[in-house]
Amino acid sequence: MSFITYLINGISLGSVYSIIALGYTMVYGIAKMLNFAHGDVIMIGGYIIFTIMSTMGLNPILAVVISIILCTLLGITIEGIAYKPLRRAPSLAVLITAIGVSYLLQNIALLIFGAEAKSFTSVIPIKPISLVGGRITISGETLVTIPLCILIMTGLTIFIKKSKTGRGMIAVSEDKDAAILMGINVNKTIAITFAIGSALAAIASALMFSTYTNLSSTSGAMPGIKAFVAAVFGGIGSIPGAMIGGILLGVIEILSRAYISTQLGDAIVFLILIIVLLVKPTGILGKKIQEKV
């Protein structure tokens, strides 16, 4: 029975990873850059919810909504200040800038909130349910996380396939110059992508910190990197790929922590990344991109 509990916990964690991975995969597909700071937006989102709830005592749902709005603004600001001037720069320069932004967010949070980890109060008021005579317990967080993840995934797929902005995103990801010729505002499209990614990061932060309540300035970095692993695992640029990759990674992580070694959980996740990149660098659902000379 404990196996099933682990499995459910794994799917729950994996759903959070997939929501984060969506932000990575969309930005990577459209702006062709690895947004290292994405994980730290999650951390900032967590701090915003924490501050609103602990100082103003507002309703958790309202706190989450405010956090989503602020994180969206943060995402757009980061893109506008740090990444937009580097649109034509070599990828090494963009990557170093992204690392710089990530480091900046971490240290701003460290200066404001201090080094001591805060304990996050769950924003989900649902009570856990017991199945099979109390041998399996499913937490309220899990009950919300998994359906929400499916909802986001479906909504995003429909948005990208059907809406004009969404189709503009596909066009920019396939050929930026051709998209400009077709009258698509590339800068605006990229800004919208960052906005969506950051809003998703805020949602993910509410879900993640409700389950794993330890909130410190570095607590966004590791989930961020793991979500990137999930995005690579599923095939970068693909929305269903991010979901499959995220859930698989979450399950693998929880099971290996439970059955192999608690301390080596992270190492095993990274080992998977390396194996995936060696065996199938394009991921499960990724397309192979031919390099032009």
Binding site: Y28, A89, A93, T97, V101, Y103, L264
Partner: protein
């Protein structure tokens, strides 16, 4: 014939320039070393600064060696601290086992450095074979992953030593099954403690100069030119017959081995080595040195490493906001170097542009 002569002349000039530049760099290091030593002798140097001298050396070695990967090979490695970690642990392990066997400190420490470098270089080759098939963002994230794996594994590893040989465990000290009189050397999260403190400023400076010479000679060799060709355009490099994988692994493993040297220096400087010290943050710190000093500029790396090690200890403002400043350095340097607006501004306001404008104006007036 004349064309050949001109070419030869320009080649000689080029050679001279690089040799001259090396002589200047090493000369400045030696002068700085002499000044420091005479200050210590005269008792003019504060304890704070004396404690930083060896740290400056190993950070400078780390920065120069990372510059080989980032600036010369053009690949971003975020796991450089992992190689330092391997060097530190291997070197400290060797010294602790051999402390009773080899009495001569110099020989023991030299061997420790060689073994630490060899081990880090070996890992560099192994990881390089895996990693260097990838490029750009993927490579960065995989090197980060390797750095974290190395850190995590060493964090749970227990190694002991007794008359029957070396024992490994990933659980605890008891499961090593040591004989009586056996010695636990690596104690999981506690790391290695009680390493003989053999690192001195003199050794650090010698190692720094050696590192610098190794990399400069590599850059100016045939292999170095191949490596830089890969950086500038890997497809063009491949099409003229450069074995990309070979040269990438060569550069990567040399960089790793030199990071191993810095690690040995580190572990023999402070008595306790823990793997958590070599995480992502340390790798970023070294990257900041390289970026601030200029990617591909070895001298710049050394200067940046020394400045950023010393300044935070003296300026209170820098000590409190150190990490924040590092982050801003990364962002601002990249935007300053690559944003079109900044590039134009620099062109307009550079000394060369100023002189060119003056000449043009003069020519106009004369006309």
């Amino acid at each position: 014939m004349k064309a050949q002569l001109v070419k030869m002349k320009s080649q000689v000039q080029k050679l001279n320039r690089s040799t001259r530049s090396n002589v200047i760099t090493i000369g400045v290091i030696v002068i700085a070393y002499t000044i420091c030593m005479s200050m210590i002798k005269a008792g003019n140097m504060s304890n704070l600064l004396q404690n930083l001298l060896v740290a400056m050396c190993y950070y400078a070695i780390m920065a120069v060696s990372l510059n080989l990967t980032v600036g010369i090979l053009g690949q971003l490695s975020l796991g450089h601290a992992g190689f330092m970690c391997i060097g530190a642990f291997t070197g400290a392990f060797f010294s602790k086992i051999m402390v009773g066997t080899i009495d001569n400190v110099l020989i023991r420490f030299t061997l420790a450095i060689l073994i630490g470098a060899a081990m880090a270089g070996l890992f560099g080759v192994l990881i390089g074979i895996v990693v260097l098939r990838l490029r750009g963002d993927y490579l960065a994230i995989v090197t980060l992953a390797f750095g974290e794996i190395i850190k995590n594994v060493l964090n749970v590893l227990y190694i002991g030593y007794d008359s029957r040989g070396i024992h490994f465990s990933v659980n605890d000290t008891a499961s090593l099954n040591l004989e009586e009189g056996g010695m636990v050397i690596i104690k999981g999260a506690q790391g290695i403690s009680g390493t003989p403190r053999n690192s001195t400023f003199t050794i650090g400076v010698i190692l720094l100069i050696l590192t610098y010479l190794v990399i400069v000679n590599l850059i100016n060799s045939r292999s170095g030119r191949a490596i830089m060709a890969i950086r500038d355009n890997h497809i063009a490099a491949e099409s003229i017959g450069i074995d990309i994988t070979k040269y990438k692994i060569l550069a990567f493993s040399i960089s790793a081995a030199l990071a191993g040297v810095a690690g040995v220096l580190y572990s023999h400087n402070i008595a306790t080595v823990q793997s958590t010290k070599f995480g992502y943050n340390t790798s970023i710190l070294i990257l900041v040195f390289v970026v601030l000093g200029g990617m591909g500029n070895l001298r710049g790396s050394i200067i940046a490493a020394i400045l950023l090690t010393v300044l935070p200890e003296y300026l209170r403002f820098m000590r409190d906001y150190r990490m924040l400043i590092y982050a801003i350095v990364l962002i601002v340097m990249m935007i300053f170097n690559w944003a079109p607006a900044c590039v134009n501004w620099r062109k307009k306001h550079s000394l060369k542009g100023f002189i060119d404008n003056k000449i043009r104006k003069k020519a106009k007036e004369e006309a």
